[in-house]
Amino acid sequence: MPGTIELPTPDVDVETDPKKVREQEYTVIVWDDPVNLMPYVTHVFQQVFGWGREKAQRHMLEVHEQGRSVVVRDSFEKAEYYVHALQKYSLTATLEPAS
């Protein structure tokens, strides 16, 4: 289009641009630790995600046996919400950009 100035695309680090951070998808990972009791971890999964006992136990065992379990894949806001909820129970939970 005549008269339109083509603005250069700024070279922005995806992870530090708040807009892009919020557009990306994230996974919530719960990591194994030697201190949280297995029934407690199962209970937390039931409470935070509303899962039945069987599903909660499956993820708890995955954490215990494989060192980690991906429990959520969602938007930044929802992933952040779940990480905060899990950390209130002192579980080792982080959010990572989904690959």
Binding site: P34, N36, V83, H84, Q87, S90, T94, P97
Partner: protein
Amino acid sequence: MRLHASDDEGTSWFLSPGERNLLLTLFSRPMDPRQRARLSRTSEALEELCQSDLAGELETHRAEVRSQLVVLLGVAVSAQTTIQTPTGPREDSGWILRLTSEDRESFLQALNELRLGAWEQLGRPDPPEVPDDLAPDSPNILHWWTLEIASRFQTRLISEESPE
């Protein structure tokens, strides 16, 4: 500590006088310093972006939960109950602690916070089991005691709520 009654609005728990004192002592002590929770393991930028909110929110939440539990234990009602023993019924006196579902979750979180604080003070032992050679005058006695007692209450709260 045992489940006394359960209804749509929550649960009531019978505590012996000793158990109530133990819990009051545990929740009234200053919090053991905890390692800061991380938001991300792979992204430092993400960590930087969000960490301050998370750390502040957790700290406030934990302090509020402990205060709330001290209040709940303070307003527990003294009670008499009959328990069945192998030798027949026995009258027991103690306290009834009324917990909403939300209170129960706060209780579990606070107990776990105590466990993790003690475990970190002990140098994060793996597995977190009392060593056989623990000396009676060890400076770690209090941390092992906290870890063990908090685990017992936590297990009781979970197993009574959702029996196998």
